[in-house]
């Protein structure tokens, strides 16, 4: 494997993400470390969702449901005394299986119908979490009084502080980016992009549409579930209200604004939509938060009209857009 062309940039970026939180932590700015950790979680979700939306062109408006499924499965396992590392594969299997179960019947639907069905599924999951008191403790969330989500242990070391979880999140994010990057340039990735561009032409080129879409859909669901697993161990609490439709919309907006199909675009989108508002909130007060969503709404419309490829589009997609005469 040769080094990517922009390796100095990547090296500097890696150094920053490795050292900056450590410096902030030493300076005692724990809030900043927490925000950076949160950005990391959203980046994992963004990378996962990008496989569905960015590569395959399936607009998934209920992705947050898989984050929720991962978080709840992990919480239940953890309360039952199963450790993070043992629980992780179980969470992945549960997330992947449910994703496959949902995907099998709906993946043949046309794009906009698929969007609405995934939206419906996302809301069903949230409503079930609220109403299934016996398992999920309803709106009060997990763990119940007297129960505890187990700590994450790495050999003899127990992760307790935000900075510990930050590095755990970073490792998982890098794995997700690696998977996503290898996928994009694999035979499967090229098949996904072919499907996005023209399903009929892809079929005629011998691509098994149903199976290829399902594989992408499941991989992306597993990544979402893993993000939920990490989040619940870090946060030590989970409740249905974290998984509203607007969270899914926020994820989609991150991809649209940042640039679909490109990992750097996703990072930019997350920083713009999660980190910047957090920082502005701590400096400008809560009044700003109310106006944040108004700005997002406008930004989505403006970007989709004037720069449909996003702020930092993938190089391949930008070329394709240019070749097609500026139309996606």
């Amino acid at each position: 494997m040769t080094l990517p062309r922009r390796w100095p940039l990547i090296a500097i970026g890696l150094l920053v993400v490795l050292i900056l939180p450590l410096v902030l932590n030493q300076l005692g700015n724990l809030y900043a470390v927490r925000v950076i950790g949160l950005v990391g979680i959203y980046c994992i979700l963004g990378v996962g969702l990008n496989i569905t939306i960015g590569y395959t062109g399936l607009l998934d408006l209920g992705y947050i449901a898989f984050y929720a499924i991962g978080a709840y499965t992990a919480a239940i396992l953890s309360i039952a005394g199963i450790s993070f590392w043992l629980g992780l594969p179980i969470v992945m299997v549960v997330g992947g299986a449910i994703r496959l179960g949902l995907g099998a019947p709906i993946l043949r639907l046309r794009g906009d119908y698929l969007a609405i069905v995934t939206l419906g599924f996302g809301e069903i999951v949230r409503l079930v979490l609220i109403n299934l008191d016996a398992i999920t403790n309803g709106p009060k969330g997990l763990p119940r009084v007297g129960e505890k989500i187990a700590d994450v242990k790495l050999f003899a070391f127990t992760l307790t502080e935000n900075i510990h979880f930050y590095y755990l999140i970073l490792v998982f994010l890098l794995i997700a980016i690696f998977i996503s990057h290898r996928l994009e340039h694999s035979r499967l990735g090229r098949a996904l992009i072919a499907i996005r561009e023209d399903e009929l032409a892809a079929t005629l080129s011998g691509i098994n549409i149903a199976r290829t879409k399902a594989v992408a859909f499941v991989i992306s669901g597993i990544i979402g579930a893993v993000a939920g697993d990490i989040y619940v161990h870090w946060n030590q609490f989970v409740s249905p209200e974290s998984f509203t439709f607007w969270e899914s919309v926020l994820l989609v907006s991150m991809l649209v604004i940042g640039g679909m199909g490109n990992v750097w675009g996703i990072l930019l989108g997350v920083v713009l939509l999660v980190a910047v508002p957090e920082v502005l909130r701590s400096t400008l007060g809560t009044a700003f938060v109310d106006y944040r969503m108004i700005a997002f709404g406008l930004l989505m419309v403006v970007i989709i009209i004037f720069r449909p490829q996003g702020l930092l589009p993938s190089r391949r997609r930008a070329l394709e857009l240019e070749a097609a005469g500026g139309e996606p």
Binding site: G57, L59, P105, I106, L109, R110, G111, D112, Y113, A115, I116, V117, L119, G120, F121, E123, I124, L127, V128, I130, N131, L200, F245, W246, V249, V252, S253, V256, D290, Y291, M293, I294, F296, G297, L298, L299, M300, V301, I304, I305, P308, E327, P328
Partner: protein, 298 residues
């Protein structure tokens, strides 16, 4: 119990049917899901709210004229809003991929909801109860005058729309545009004008549904459009999206299903059941009850 829930369901269904017409008309012509339609419903309800509370007392004394004026304001405002949204957020994307207008519509929806939340109120507000409600009982089934009023108004709006679509020149042009934009244009139809008219009518009906919804439930909130919007969209899909009669039948069907779920199972499950209906219909009969099989153009 059954007939009581049926009455409630038909009232609810009247609102959903009016609301669903906007989704189905826009889909019929542009093949796009107008996600912002639920916000047009919400804005319509707020316009009605202001008209009901702010109109001078001498107008309020004259009951029929008062309500006509309130509905006219709400419908006109909602219709114009829908037309503006189309101009600003959808028209530039007419040649873009199918998902682009949907994303743009979601952006408009976020914008409007939060605008109302920030500038008007984040809390739910009581709707003025200027409508004098009298209760009747037929064979043990409670019916009130508001339910009869909503049903009658919805039916007359639908009949008018049906006459407009089938009997007038403009209606004919709309049907032609729904079939094929290019050929309609060659026949001398101003397609952009037809699309504007479609959004105007759909938006006005959505606004009417919003006011009726506010009067029926007695309160409004900035996010009141979301769930009814999904239900109305489901109604449009169940009836066969793009089909006007389908949206009406689908609306009543959904209202009745919801009322029966509330009556016999639990109100906690009414939204789950409706989403399940949407998913099942899309999987097993995506063309709905009245929809025609459309072959994908290559």
């Amino acid at each position: 119990m059954f007939f009581q829930q049926l009455v409630n369901g038909i009232t609810l269904g009247s609102i959903y049917a009016l609301f669903a017409l906007g989704y189905t008309m826009v889909y019929g012509i542009l093949l796009m899901i107008n996600f912002a339609h639920s916000e047009i419903f919400m804005v319509g309800a707020y316009l009605g709210f202001w008209a009901l509370s702010l109109l001078p007392v001498w107008v309020q004394g004259w009951t029929p004229g008062y309500f006509i004026l309130v509905f006219a304001i709400a419908m006109m405002g909602a219709g114009l809003l829908a037309v503006t949204i189309e101009r600003v957020a959808y028209r530039p994307l007419r040649r873009a991929s199918r998902l682009a207008p949907l994303i743009s519509a979601i952006g408009v929806s976020i914008f409007l909801q939060n605008l109302v939340q920030v500038t008007v109120s984040a809390q739910s507000q009581p709707y003025p109860d200027t409508f004098k409600i009298s209760h009747y009982e037929f064979f043990g089934v409670q019916v009130n005058s508001l339910q009869i009023f909503i049903f009658a108004l919805a039916i007359s709006a639908m009949v008018l729309l049906q006459v407009f679509i089938t009997k007038t020149r403009l209606g004919k042009a709309m049907r032609a545009t729904a079939q094929n934009h290019t050929v309609s244009q060659l026949m001398g139809i101003n397609v952009n004008f037809i699309i504007t008219v479609t959004f105007l009518i759909g938006g006005a009906l959505g606004g009417l549904a919003g006011v009726l919804n506010g009067m029926y439930y007695g309160s409004i909130k900035f996010n009141m459009g979301f769930f009814p919007g999904l239900k109305a969209f489901t109604a449009a899909v169940v009836g066969g999206i793009g089909n006007i009669k389908g949206a009406m039948v689908g609306g009543f069907l959904l209202g009745i299903i919801e009322a029966l779920t509330v009556g016999y199972i639990s109100s906690a499950y009414k939204d789950i059941i409706l989403f399940a209906v949407l998913i099942l219909v899309l999987i097993f009969r995506p063309t709905g009850i009245f929809g025609e099989e459309v072959t994908e153009k290559i």
